[in-house]
């Protein structure tokens, strides 16, 4: 086992940990995005709320999500540690340093962009994750007509055992569920929260413009045939499409609902 420690303590091993955890977080973003796009469904939040119950009850997903939190924290603090180590490698700074002549700014600002994302995540987890787990969240009852598929919903005043109950009677499906959707919809009525979210998605975009393709270089994947593809996915999928789709959600709740 000693060799693994020595390997991971080397400069290349340290970077490998950043790259691998970063790529894992990229795959998480895809899952998170697909789940959250249900917010845009016109169903009063039924799909999103049942999805939220599934994500917080399924034991396998719970296990993975605690691993995810650990990896987010590791990636963030390991990154900050590496930034401080790298600063030490140049104890006397240049009076003149023309970084833009030889490198893209996103690659030089990864630590700052990452710190912005970390600060955003604290706010994000406090606003939704902690509210859902510990806060007072209302329950909503959805009535779906099984023949027509039409959904109506109302505030549910009674009490149920868990986060969700579902039963069918008279060709109607009743779903009583903890309503995270309304927590999201309420939060995004605040303009400053909408702005904060959109700006944070900007930071995420620029972090991934460099981060995604950089991970592959660290892993040793560098080939003329595939470099453009990897860079393209990093810029267009992770730097443009995913952050824009995330940013659409707060804008949708503030201005289109």
């Amino acid at each position: 086992m000693n060799w693994i420690i020595t390997f991971l303590k080397s400069s290349i091993g340290k970077k490998l940990l950043m790259g691998l955890t970063g790529l894992f977080l990229c795959t998480f973003l895809i899952v998170h995005l697909i789940g959250n796009l249900q917010l845009l469904k016109h169903d009063g939040g039924m799909a999103f709320n049942t999805y939220a119950v599934f994500m917080t009850s399924n034991p396998l997903i719970k296990f993975v999500s605690y691993g995810l939190y650990a990896i987010i924290l590791f990636h963030a603090f390991w990154g900050l540690y590496l930034v401080s180590q790298n600063k030490k490698a140049r104890p006397v700074q240049y009076a003149a340093y023309n970084g833009k002549a030889n490198s893209h700014w996103t690659s030089r600002w990864m630590g700052v962009l990452g710190t912005m994302i970390l600060a955003f995540l604290v706010f994000h987890m406090w606003g939704f994750w902690a509210q859902y787990k510990f806060g007072e969240v209302p329950y909503t009852i959805y009535e779906r007509n099984l023949a027509t598929g039409e959904i109506t919903f109302a505030n549910f005043e009674g009490e149920i055992a868990g986060k969700m109950e579902r039963y069918i009677s008279n060709d109607t499906e009743f779903t009583i569920v903890k309503d995270l959707y309304v927590v999201v919809a309420d939060a995004f009525q605040e303009l400053w929260i909408v702005i904060l979210y959109v700006l944070s998605m900007g930071a995420l975009a620029f972090h991934l413009v460099h981060g995604f393709s950089s991970s592959f270089q660290t892993l040793g994947v560098h080939h003329k045939k595939y470099n453009a593809l990897i860079k393209g996915i990093g810029v267009w999928v992770f730097g443009v499409i995913i952050p824009i789709l995330f940013a659409i959600m707060p804008i949708y709740f503030k201005f289109f609902i």
Partner: protein, 248 residues
């Protein structure tokens, strides 16, 4: 041309340095950057001042000695040249030029613009060699090597060890240099017997010297006077992973 200079002056490794202003009149646009410094030094010596120390040797762009950080970039504004191949025609009359030594903890300043780059020598000594029995040279082409492979190894071997990669990198990382030295041998059959030991020893020495780690900004390759490619760093990473995972 008249040129204003802000030059880093530092008596020795222990002393505190500072940027000092100099004016150089009668600069010909055809002078190399180092020749402009020769003219300035002549003036300083005539006045009885201490001339500015800077490293130089071949003045043909192949030795890698000259190491000035000019206006925020190693070897100045041109791509693919060393400081000796930079000419004053790349500047305008009346320009102010900031000239500093390479900045890296692993490259301590010895005097003024001259830095100690023996950290590179120690990395080479750790593994940048092959062991062959001496005697008569083998016949050419005795060992079949594909042309593409040979060309690639030659591209890596073009590294002159000037340290511009370290100087340009925001982390003062030596990955481009070390990866070029690992690659030139990893790509050829002669390098295979010691391949695993080599990459481990050279990376360990690189870390011990206090260079930073790579964040793939690409500044090193962009500033390299020999255009050493970033693919070398990816290759070194692969070599390092494989040596760690499968080495004894």
């Amino acid at each position: 041309m008249k040129i204003n200079l802000k030059v880093w002056r530092q008596k020795n490794n222990k002393a505190k340095g500072e940027l000092k202003d100099y004016k150089v009149d009668h600069v010909s646009p055809d002078m190399s950057f180092l020749e402009m410094f020769d003219v300035l030094n002549e003036e300083l010596i005539t006045k009885g001042d201490d001339p500015i120390a800077f490293d130089h040797d071949c003045r043909e762009g192949i030795c890698g000695s000259c190491s000035m950080h000019i206006n925020g970039r190693p070897h100045g504004p041109l791509a693919g040249v060393t400081t000796c191949q930079l000419h004053m025609r790349s500047f305008s009359d009346g320009d102010t030029i900031v000239v500093e030594p390479w900045r890296a903890g692993a490259f301590p300043v010895t005097k003024d613009l001259s830095v100690d780059r023996t950290a590179f020598d120690r990395i080479i000594a750790a593994g940048g060699f092959i062991s062959v029995n001496t005697g008569n040279a083998q016949d050419a082409n005795n060992l079949p090597i594909g042309k593409e492979q040979a060309d690639e190894a030659f591209m890596s071997a073009a590294c002159i060890g000037c340290g511009a990669c370290v100087a340009a990198c925001k982390n003062a990382s030596a990955m481009l240099f070390v990866s070029a030295k690992v690659s030139q041998l990893a790509l050829l059959p002669q390098g295979q017997p010691e391949a695993k030991m080599r990459v481990m020893a050279m990376v360990n020495q690189m870390d011990a010297e206090g260079f930073g780690s790579c964040t793939n900004t690409g500044a090193c390759s962009a500033e390299c006077p020999k255009g050493i490619d970033l693919s070398n760093i990816a290759r070194m990473n692969r070599e390092f992973f494989s040596a760690n995972l499968t080495g004894k």
